[in-house]
Amino acid sequence: MRWRLTSLLAVILVIGTACGGSGSKTSSGAGSQEKVTLNFWGTKEGYDDYSRALVKAFEAKYPNIHIKVTTYPEDNYNTKIDTALAAGHPPDLGPVGNLRWLRAGKVLPLDDMVREQKIDLSAYNKSIIGDPARVNGEFGCSYQGKLYCLGSYLGAVGVFYNKAMFKAAGIPAPAPWPPMTIDQFVDTACKLTNKAKGVWGGAYGYPVTVVPWETEFSKDGRTAVGIANGPTAVHTYDVMAQGIRQGCAPSLNTMDPWEQGADYFAQGKLAMVVTDLQSFKKIENAKIDYGVTHPPTAQGVEPFLQTWTDVLGVFAGTKHSKEAELFIAFQTTQGQRLRVQVTGDMPISTTVAKEANWAKGIPGREEALEVVPHARPAVFIPNRWDTVGALFEAYDQIVGGKPAQQALNDAAPKVQSDLDKAWKDWDKDKG
């Protein structure tokens, strides 16, 4: 009996010793030899050649830090993180663009890291870095005056236009700034449409994806009635719907400008398209002489440019916060240059864009660099996509022939009801 007990104790000691040294429980500095593994969770769609190159370059610079990458389909990512947070085992790093996580204190602020690493944010796009006075979590990285994420590239919605088509039609090319009004945009699209050649003059999505949200909502994002069915919104929706009815722009089920706009533009089927400005390479490979301008705005409404980045942040509860912050710092500094080399995406900093010669002397890219500094934070609306369903429906009805005022009069109270519910939930969680 005694020898059995002794043997058991010996086995336990051996196992305990073997397991004890499997990972560091404390953060180590960059110069430390202690091996650290950072768990990085990302989306399958977002983890591309740049991400792989970034991880490789970071590990080469910091050989004691290993990045263990796990990716999930984009639609599942938020749920995976929610579950991991609930279980108390979130990853160290990952995209953190979910306000619920920020509000619940599940993401670490990066302000101290920015100061320690001396990262110059002055040339970073302001709609990402944010305005401390505004909540703009969805498209930006700041919340209640603190910075929670940083990125390496700037995504933006803009307008590509075909210079050759403008020249052939005798229409002056639009300047990067100021933007056209929606009336000018649709009018120009109709002039450029060539049905015989199968060319649409312009392509755009639903109004809520094109014009500033102040067209339908108050500046504080709490009121829709009177604005969503007000004269500006009615006129805007009517003009855009007419553009489709007259055949100057393809219907939204013919072509989704967001997903397919760049393809159609590269094939010469569109003279202008409101789409994702990350499609430069595709258009340049098609040898289209293109220009870039700011998205159109509704009459009398301050122009708005929708922007985004790879919102990488550090989850609270990480045992390696210093190492994780090192990765964030790396990806937002050297990562920007790496991105220009690997994918050709526009860097988040205009200074880096110039230093890395992102524009390469291409006029369209130069114009894009003139457009993006005009980006500003969006009107904040919690769960925004849950509040605009009635507006999508109203627009479909208007395209189908229903009078715009009537369609929006029906939609506005529904939007207001959804808005009130969204704000009620938001204010309840203010805590």
Binding site: D82, N253, W385, G389, Q397, D418, K421
Partner: protein
């Protein structure tokens, strides 16, 4: 008379039975553990959740009937989802039942190559719902889709905008589901082939023509199968999700027209992070579906006929 001998024998049998019972429970234990862990506990947990406010990453807070109150009085999307789902049920269930039945009657004909036709018609019902939805989004494209191209070719200048039209959005989803009606037809087919030939012979001898044979023999004898198809179609209709999700996307970009009930539950739970509220909505669905099914069962005695009915035999 109980003797010591019989009492001892009874006691041995009792011990044996008890031992066998214990052994039986031991064998059942894994299944029972699974039932408890994966069915009973989650159900009870979701009942508790439905009375809480929980976003999964923070602690749940008790709200009692607050979620249900909000649903009934403060949430436009709840009533919208009910309307959209009801519209779909009222359009799809009768259509699928009738279409399945007609198809099965055709498939029951004695023609060459019928097995091939049965296979071809059954294949769509086994395809992935997601793949089918993606395919039909392309087919129903208002400008370049095959469906509208055919409609224009036959002279309809202004065909519907299908998924892009608030009026036609739900009928479009019904149309997409109709493609899989072959699955129901196969079930009807098995019911048809179980109808005794002697019933048809007797009807023919009495001078019944094809319609009367269908009306007074086929249809009544098929009512058990009809009941099954009705119940499964209803359950499927309550749970429409794949097609609506693919068409609408995770952001619900198609607007209100396709806000099906289960999609709405998904939005509330996984997009808006309101798992407590989503649980409450899920329970409303369960109760509503259960009531509908109970009603059908209660009334089925009046219209479902069994060739052998023990109640009538007494």
């Amino acid at each position: 008379m109980i003797t010591a001998k019989t009492s001892g024998r009874r006691s041995r049998l009792g011990r044996l039975a008890r031992r066998e019972e214990r052994t039986a429970y031991l064998f059942l234990l894994p299944w029972l553990a699974g039932l408890l862990m994966f069915w009973i506990v989650p159900i009870l947990w979701s009942v508790a959740l439905s009375a809480s406010d929980w976003d999964i990453i923070s602690k749940p807070s008790w709200v009692g009937l607050g979620n249900y109150r909000e649903m009934l009085f403060d949430d436009r999307h709840f009533w919208l989802a009910i309307r959209v789902t009801l519209k779909y049920i009222l359009l799809s269930v009768p259509l699928y039942i009738v279409a399945g039945l007609v198809l099965s009657l055709l498939l029951n004909l004695k023609l060459r190559g019928m097995n091939l036709f049965r296979t071809i018609l059954f294949v769509p019902s086994v395809l992935s719902g997601v793949a089918v939805a993606i395919l039909w989004v392309a087919l129903l494209n208002p400008d370049v889709g095959a469906v509208n191209s055919i409609l224009r070719a036959v002279g309809i200048d202004n065909p519907p905008r299908w998924l892009g039209s608030p009026t036609w959005a739900v009928p479009s989803v019904v149309l997409i589901g109709l493609w899989g009606v072959g699955g129901g037809a196969i079930i009807y087919l098995s019911g048809l082939q179980n109808i005794g030939a002697q019933l048809y012979e007797a009807a023919a001898l009495d001078g019944a023509g094809p319609w009367r044979r269908f009306r007074y023999v086929t249809l009544p004898m098929l009512t058990p199968t009809l009941l099954f198809v009705l119940l499964t179609s209803l359950i499927d209709a309550f749970q429409v999700f794949d097609t609506a999700f693919i068409v609408s996307g995770a952001q619900g970009a198609a607007g209100d027209s396709l806000r099906f009930y289960l999609l709405n539950v998904w939005y509330e739970g996984f997009r808006n992070g309101r798992l407590g509220y989503a649980s409450a909505e899920a329970w409303v669905l369960v109760i509503a579906a259960a009531l509908v099914i109970l009603l059908i069962f209660r009334t089925s005695g009046r219209w479902v006929y069994y060739e052998y009915d023990p109640e009538k035999e007494r």
